[in-house]
Symmetry: D2
Subunit: 357 residues, 4 copies
């Protein structure tokens, strides 16, 4: 059941990188939502490749086509299906994958699972390209959330050794949200942009890649959203976030650093601000007992360096069962993190709407 | 839908800390599994409180009673239900929670969500006690997995500032599994046990608590288990792990550290060992494209310091809507991490069996 | 996944006829529902055996015990679990089933499915006794529905050759609802009660049993409940109704008779009554396109004659693989239909609340 | 959640009659299934309109296009998505539905549920056209089942007053399966074909429509498929069958007639045939305790007369809130039953594969 997710908003995604089309069905959207197509296209473009020298040179248009569930400018309430046709696919680039699985990719594990029947071209169903439907769905969920005063915003926390500031120390106001939502490399400390670009370009120059992390905040959620145990906010968010290719870690609030803290420090004491119950600190990331407390929900996502690199690597020729040295041809992203930002936000929007609606 | 989880093995847990009983229903177990009751009791005892000076002085017997789905020593294949009766409950200890939510607990968020109708005594449904059914279910899943050569083992990675070695550097052999599975404070480097106990006792002396992390390995899983996207091994494991009270982070393989790495280092190159495809390193934690590659599945879980501490804290009196200083009475765990070890293993066993069966 | 059902209200039932206890967990109930225990007991008693000479002489007390999710007289919003202990079980009565499957029962099919590990005593998990938890859950759902002006009422449509009138021809008013809800043999035409009892007693005298059907109405549901396609009102109701042991048919509105009609007759024309859109007829049973139209939802359920009869029957001795003649010992219901009435209503209440909440 | 169904094979259907396209995603198909495109097209054609004077004159091509999950002639194991583009849509025919709901259709209930935002043209998402994806999915499931010796076959049991024989009295052999599977009006008693056509044409001549029922058999299923309670074979089959527009009843084995029988007649006694346990009769329709017993699974489906008729009808003008007389323009099926045959079979194939795989 690789492609189906959600309780109240059920999504079903499909597609292979070099197949006919990718897309999804969204079941459970309320009727009468006026879709802002420009806002959807804007999110799609944030994820699309080919936009600068710090991302891949591949051009993907990501033009979507809505097939159902949308009538006269509004959602109908019935399943909304859309597709994105695949273009600019150089399938021949990938013929060798059949025999030699690329390290870090799903070639080997997919081959075992699907007994060799999977479409291996460009990673097939394992391709990062399959996140485009996630961004489309997230853009719709985001519009619904924003109409209720709930905003999702994120920045790159680190790429390699270059670290940004954190949401911890600052108030996330409208200005910051607007600024980060439109930056190509969204950083709180914009004086770091040059260093971060340099970190990426240095990896690129070495025909290598570099990892990074994204910090995301959901602002404006009321207290009382989520469930104890299996449908806690942490459970649902991590469940969908780990489906994004390359994600290897998810932490909330103070995350792994909280393991170094004492309770007297980690406990977020309650206080009253403007007549409303708040917490003085936010080590819990806005979630206690799996349920929101009205503070910003804050989490970080670790993303591994792009698996596709130009450098020589060693692998195994599966037909000859012998170790080989090989190079991956094609155009690669030296760092997937900037393009992952809208995907992480979209996944968060889907999970939050599914809990909140 | 707080208490239901699983696709092939569906579990439905219930209970409040100071209610009549806690327990669960397990639907989907295969028939004909001979249950090793001693092994189940052993796991329950690992989690049970009151066993030494580094855990709480509360005594909970955790005696379980199977009500259905079990006949003549074997599972029947029909839903297996069990209960654990609540004892030794000093409800009066908790009367004040009604008005003053404890920082770090689900008192406030639960009160908002359930509109004040939830059983607040001892945290009610938010209590760590509700992990006892998880351990019971996990113990059964573990037996099924072990019969197929799949073993789950973990150690405490750190408590506060005291760090153990990691699974990364060593081969996880049968001896290590046996040793860690029976240690009260499971550490790879047993010379650190004293330091770790001291870290806990120091927090205890201060009427405070301390956090920590657990590293867990699933050994013996064949390649090909899991799904791309939403039912990836990472998705399913994190989904259930974050339901354990106090968990604030989950990472796989090199986890957050991978964000500092380059692709040429992070990519696990394939090789052939004894005629079988393996990877030379295991930065991916045994998972690529969401699917196991036959190497050990390795993950770490961040656990916050126990929220209940004896120290004075500040909170809000919800009826008077004013800030107050207060102390939590009762007997507290200075560090929940040792008792969380069998819970993390149990959750892992459930998720892995659900994917594998 | 035999025992889990529901989308918004998730239930998980368990138990064997002669095991320790039967029961269920209900996940998703709203907090703050004041439970009327007398109303629950009343429904349980309607289903309980041993109440007159037209039902079995077995006495089952069906005393339930709530374990969680209920505090100070109200639901808490967390999973509500309850059990009903098994008593008066003469297990020895059923030893022969191990070898000789009873015709019409699940002995043979259960034995194949569960490879002989199932608890065969008294039908085990296949026993009609497992409907007691359904009645309990339904009684709670019913209270929630009634608080919103939605009532469930039914009558016996036929037992053997004796037919009652139908809901078709009459207005279902409060008086009728009250009357039918409290009758032991609920008939619209009470002059038929004698004939129906005679039909049952005649079967009993022959050590045989007799089938029948139940007609049920859900009154007061607003228009707009249900979904097109897979979660239509018909889909959800039939899905749960067919889980009741012995049910072999479900039909809505004019049901199978509609296959004899022309469109001009079967189409329910719209009209205006008291300023509200209604239909002049109700051949569709209050459902069009899977969604309620505000008219009463009406359906009928066919129930086969009790499988357990005293008469000699032929079966197969599974160990010797030879045909044998045998008699079923024990005390049997000559007609299960009267006791099935509260079960059908309970199942309807669960399905309707799950769609409506 | 109108469009998602299944546990092991998850389907998600979408589309409106006059939208861009209809289609579905199928998640959970095993990899390596060689799809027989001719067999799929054959099933699609059985459902397609415009094939004779007893069905509608509308021509729908129903040409499908597979977008994903299919590579080099085989299923890949990843989600298989397909679309069928809409053509020949005369949207203007349906403008009046906005105001005047057609009796028997989902116009009124859909309008209430979706608050007027649904695509009303041609019934939109409520259109019988949405069964085309069901037939496509069923054709794939059918191929998988047939490769395991499981066959689905059906005939028209009655149309109006003209009745065919029943599966009860005959042995369903390969010849019969082949014959019925290829007949335009599949009848056991082919001497009745003329009468049945006359019944349909008579309704057509009156600008009216006529209902009917379909009897379906699943042959070759081993004993032990299905679950007690909620996922019984009856539950799962009825759950999906009632999603077919126009279905108002489902019964298994002797169905409603069993309510007239005594247990001694209705109980299917076991016997041994060719060394295998069978039942002498099949009143239970091959299912006991929700689980197959190895006999053919037999069920009947009641289908109401087509709601769209040319005759004058009365309805309500929703904007003026007054009763009106009106005629439905367009080309209608006088009897939907023949075209429903492949849909019923497809739904059965999906449900059976979902239980069996």
């Amino acid at each position: 059941m690789s492609g189906t997710w959600g309780n109240r908003i059920k999504i079903s995604i499909f597609g292979e990188s070099h197949g006919e089309a990718i897309g999804a069905v969204i079941d459970g959207l309320p009727p009468g939502i006026k879709l802002d197509m420009e806002a959807i296209k804007f999110q799609m473009k944030r994820r699309a490749p080919g936009q600068s020298d710090i991302t891949t040179a591949r051009k993907e248009e990501d033009e979507f086509q809505i097939l159902s569930g949308y009538f006269n400018g509004y959602t109908t309430g019935t399943p909304l299906a859309f597709i994105i046709k695949n273009k600019d696919a150089r399938s021949s680039d990938y013929e060798y994958i059949k025999d030699i699985p690329r390290p870090g990719h799903g070639d080997y594990t997919g081959g075992v699972k699907y007994k060799g029947y999977n479409d291996y071209r460009g990673g097939g169903h394992f391709s990062g390209r399959i996140t485009a439907p996630i961004v489309f769905i997230g853009a719709i969920c985001r519009q619904i959330l924003e109409s209720k005063g709930i905003y999702i915003v994120s920045h790159i926390k680190n790429i390699g050794s270059i670290d940004d500031d954190s949401f911890d120390a600052i108030h996330i106001d409208e200005d910051l949200i607007r600024r980060l939502n439109t930056m190509r490399l969204p950083l709180i400390a914009d004086e770091k942009i040059k260093d971060m670009e340099a970190e990426i370009l240095s990896a690129k120059a070495d025909e290598d890649s570099i990892g990074g992390s994204i910090e995301c905040a959901v602002v404006g959620l009321p207290a009382g959203v989520g469930e104890p145990f299996f449908d806690s906010v942490e459970c649902r968010l991590s469940y969908i976030l780990f489906s994004i290719p390359g994600v290897k870690g998810v932490e909330f609030g103070s995350g792994f650093y909280i393991t170094r803290m004492r309770g007297s420090e980690a406990n977020d004491e309650f206080c009253i601000q403007d007549g409303v119950v708040k917490t003085k600190t936010n080590h819990s990331g806005g979630i206690q007992g799996g349920i929101t407390n009205g503070m910003p929900v804050i989490f970080r996502v670790a993303i591994k360096p792009t698996s596709s690199i130009g450098k020589k690597q060693r692998s195994v020729d599966m037909t000859k069962m012998e170790e080989v040295e090989f190079e991956i041809k094609g155009r690669h992203d030296p760092c997937i993190v900037p393009r992952a930002v809208p995907v992480v936000e979209a996944a968060a929007a889907i999970a939050i709407l599914d809990l909140y609606i």
